[in-house]
């Protein structure tokens, strides 16, 4: 048999990946079906993000970039939904959305189906919120929209003229916006907005990115170029602050348990490695 002659340390050091994956799957599925309600602390960055929106004066205009792809939706979608709910709850904020990701319009539709602005908040498309569509070119698109929005696009994502929507009255360029928000799975977008809007126009900017991208964005925040950087994995915290518990809170339980499992795996791997080494089996 393949296991004959192997010490306990050998077996522990080489647990088959099928076993590792199986346990992970169980730990993942259980809290999705039966939420445990583990505590979710509110981090400083999420609080800063929330407060920035709270401090927006009535009549403010916010630009949102739906710059993420379908792969990133499970992480960034809940954050986008929670923030939209916050903006709609305030009631007097105009939200103009665009997409630097080609899938952005589809994902925006998906988010709106979850938020239901008309039914839940009484918000009206074209009056309180709008989507001006996918603008190709990433940084070129950001620069073009910042310089002259109407010269870059004259229609919304459905192909209707922007002139017919009251929300677009007085919207000219980057100076027309009081806050810029970006959700993205790509560094081109999250860093591009700093280069094309913050540096040029001084636009207040916040971004929510994949958790693994946060370290690359922190230097911008620490330099004061971004007000707050959050990861989509913190959506549960935002939902808690906004008062709309949804997918993010459920994910928080999963994140805690799967991280705990990862720590257990790391501990087992090291105990096995050191055990083998000290028992004379290692190099």
């Amino acid at each position: 048999m393949s296991g004959q002659g192997k010490s306990i340390w050998d077996k522990l050091e080489n647990i088959p990946r099928e076993v590792l994956y199986g346990i992970l799957l169980v730990v993942f599925v259980i809290p999705m079906i039966y939420p445990l309600g583990l505590p979710v602390p509110i981090s400083a960055n999420v609080r800063k993000w929330y407060q920035t929106i709270e401090d927006l004066p009535p009549g403010s205009v916010v630009m949102i970039d739906f710059g993420y792809s379908g792969g990133g939706e499970p992480e960034l979608g809940p954050m986008a939904v929670a923030v939209y709910r916050h903006l709609f709850t305030k009631g007097d904020i105009k939200v103009i959305c665009m997409s630097t990701s080609i899938e952005g319009t589809q994902l925006w539709d998906k988010a709106m189906a979850e938020i239901r602005p008309e039914q839940r908040f009484g918000a009206q498309y074209g009056v309180d919120y709008i989507h001006i569509g996918y603008i190709a070119g990433t940084e070129v698109a950001m620069a073009a929209i910042g310089k002259d929005l109407r010269a870059t696009t004259s229609t919304d994502y459905k192909g209707n003229s922007l002139d017919q929507y009251p929300i677009m009255d007085g919207i000219v360029d980057a100076h027309s916006f009081d806050l810029l928000i970006c959700y993205t799975t790509g560094g081109d977008q999250s860093e591009g907005w700093v280069r094309q809007w913050y540096t040029v126009y001084g636009s207040p900017y916040m971004c929510s990115v994949l958790a693994m991208m946060v370290p690359t964005m922190l230097p911008y925040q620490n330099a004061g170029q971004i007000i707050s950087v959050t990861s989509g994995a913190q959506a549960g915290e935002m939902e808690g602050l906004v008062g709309f518990p949804a997918r993010g809170i459920k994910s928080a339980d999963v994140i805690t348990l799967t991280h705990l499992l990862c720590l257990v795996y790391v501990a087992i791997g090291n105990i096995a490695y050191l055990g083998k080494r000290f028992s004379g089996g290692g190099k």
């Binding site: 190709a136 010269a151 370290p215 090291n270």
Partner: protein
């Protein structure tokens, strides 16, 4: 084709365009119109809109190129490839057909996107979690001092990123903040400044015709190698 057409003219176009864009950023060049915009501002607006249009055109051109490339595999019956190429083209035709005839914001197109591409891409991305878990178990081991430091830092960051842990062990937030705000940020800044300096250098080389990678394949003489 002569060196003038293949290299000199494209480099001059790039240099002039880059110069105008930079001029608009740093200077307010007269004459200024009633809206406070200079001639460079209007020119740059047009250039940026060309950029947006050209990128959108490149997407369509990419689809045509994809057709050309995969049609060859199908006609040659390339072993292990042609059926995937055929499937790809069928999917492109279905998406394009529904998008063109019902509109990209129609219920039909949204259903197709959500039921196929969205579900698949989210699944593929999520499956990374399994590989990473297995990788953690096998790679994060105390083999020497360097890997020991990596292990300790990884352990702290993992624990800090688990929401409930930070509640029960508040010290994790302090340690995690030190790692992200001091260690990671300082290293990341070095990388970013290095990258920015490289980008400036590449820009200058491109504008002066010393960097010719964007022109495609050139002979040694066309690159200017024969001149030295």
């Amino acid at each position: 084709m002569s060196v003038t057409v293949k290299k000199t003219i494209p480099v001059v176009i790039v240099a002039v365009v880059a110069f105008i864009v930079m001029m608009d950023y740093f200077l307010l060049t007269p004459p200024v119109d009633v809206a406070g915009k200079s001639w460079t501002s209007t020119t740059v607006t047009n250039l940026q809109n060309w950029g947006v249009i050209l990128t959108a055109f490149a997407l369509g051109f990419g689809a045509v190129n994809l057709f050309y490339f995969h049609s060859k595999h199908i006609s040659r019956r390339t072993p292990g490839q042609w059926m995937y190429s055929l499937w790809l083209l069928i999917v492109i035709v279905i998406f394009t057909g529904i998008g063109v005839f019902t509109g990209p914001t129609s219920d039909q197109y949204s259903w197709l996107y959500n039921a196929s591409y969205f579900a698949l891409s989210a699944t593929v991305y999520s499956s990374l979690g399994f590989y990473m878990t297995s990788g953690l178990y096998r790679a994060l081991r105390f083999k020497n001092v360097e890997s020991g430091i990596f292990l300790v830092v990884g352990f702290i960051v993992l624990a800090r990123n688990a929401p409930a842990f930070a509640v029960y062990f508040p010290v994790l937030r302090v340690w995690g903040s030190f790692i992200s705000d001091v260690l990671t940020t300082s290293a990341q800044r070095g990388i970013m400044i290095g990258g920015a300096l490289g980008a400036i250098s590449l820009g200058i080389r491109t504008m002066t015709g010393r960097e010719t990678g964007f022109l495609g394949k050139l002979t040694e003489e066309e690159r200017g190698g024969g001149i030295e």
